[in-house]
């Protein structure tokens, strides 16, 4: 039975939003434990993130459309800003999932955070070497999630600012057209 949950409605946290971007971070959380899925989902929602939780690496790949055998479950223009995955999972591990994501052209730039209850240095090193953004020891703390979120917002702000600048430039170009030509302003919606 598929346990993929559709993206939840966003909940605004108490602290004033630092976001200048209209899109909140969308996080895909992967964990085979019911309890941990519930917990990480709550941590992320409290941190003002949009959350999708899945119960296995295979489902994560399906959601992302990276599983060649199945049709993607996620939306066509899927935007995932962060993937948080448990390390020890039956079937495919979080490490293997990390590798698959980094091998994909569509999602290799999406930061992947690995979580584990076991503090095993070679494991941590391996994940970081494979391109993991961070490695968190369970139980994950709210402060960990916020720290990661804040560092990602900075990146998103930067790209959002760039896209705003681009739109402003386009608008300027439109207004500088020859006045004899009927103006057809393109209104781009943010």
């Amino acid at each position: 039975m598929a346990e993929v949950m559709l993206p939840m409605k966003m909940e605004m946290a108490n602290d004033p939003s630092k976001f200048t971007s209209p899109d909140l971070l969308h996080v895909l959380a992967v964990d085979d434990s019911h309890v941990d899925r519930k917990f990480i989902e709550r941590l992320l929602k409290v941190s003002s993130c949009k959350v999708t939780v899945v119960d296995s690496a295979t489902r994560a790949l399906q959601y992302l459309g990276l599983d060649v055998n199945e049709k993607p479950i996620g939306c066509k223009d899927l935007k995932v800003n962060l993937i948080m995955t448990d390390y020890s999972m039956p079937g495919m591990t979080g490490y293997e999932l990390l590798k698959k994501i980094k091998e994909s052209s569509a999602f290799r730039d999406v930061p992947v955070v690995v979580m584990s209850s076991e503090n095993i240095l070679p494991r941590i090193d391996r994940c970081l070497e494979e391109g993991a953004e961070d490695f968190l020891l369970k139980p994950v703390k709210l402060s960990d999630v916020r720290r990661i979120r804040d560092s990602l917002i900075k990146v998103e702000d930067l790209s959002f600012t760039k896209s705003i600048n681009k739109r402003e430039l386009e608008t300027e170009n439109v207004y500088s057209l020859d006045s004899s030509v009927p103006l057809q302003l393109k209104r781009t919606k943010i």
Binding site: E11, D32, S33, H34, V35, D36, K38, F39, R42, L43, V46, S88, S117, K138, P139, K141, L142
Partner: protein, 127 residues
């Protein structure tokens, strides 16, 4: 009634059944999500009952697949850690040690006088 619940809760902390992780869970609860802790606890009990049943069945079969037992215990330890069930977590760690050593008798002894009870009335082992 509320005072009684508060006293029971405090004693669970005092006796080491619960640790600060449980407080972290409580802090994630708010007016918009007033049942969060209860929901997590319910999931935990359901999960734990399943894992314990799996472990008991594996033992009743007589042949000790330590890898499988260790795997069950890893899951049990993981969820116990997430909910703050400190004593259960400790027991799981010990169990896994016995699995590693391949010592079936060692942990059978532990299991004998102290049966693992996980239910709505408590979150730890009965001694």
């Amino acid at each position: 009634m509320q005072r009684q619940v508060a006293l029971i809760k405090q004693s669970l902390f005092d006796q080491g059944y619960l640790d600060e992780q449980f407080i972290e869970l409580e802090e994630l609860q708010d007016d918009a999500n007033p049942n969060f802790v209860e929901e997590v606890a319910t999931l935990y009990f359901k999960d734990s009952a399943r894992l314990i049943s799996n472990i008991e069945q594996a033992l009743e079969r007589g042949s000790f697949d330590f890898n499988r037992l260790d795997n069950y215990m890893h899951q049990f330890k993981g969820s116990s850690t997430s909910i703050g069930a400190s004593k259960v977590k400790t027991e799981c760690t010990m169990f896994r040690e016995y699995c590693r050593v391949g010592n079936a008798e060692g942990w059978q002894d532990r299991r004998g006088p102290r049966r693992l009870h996980v239910g709505p009335s408590n979150t730890g082992t009965d001694q």
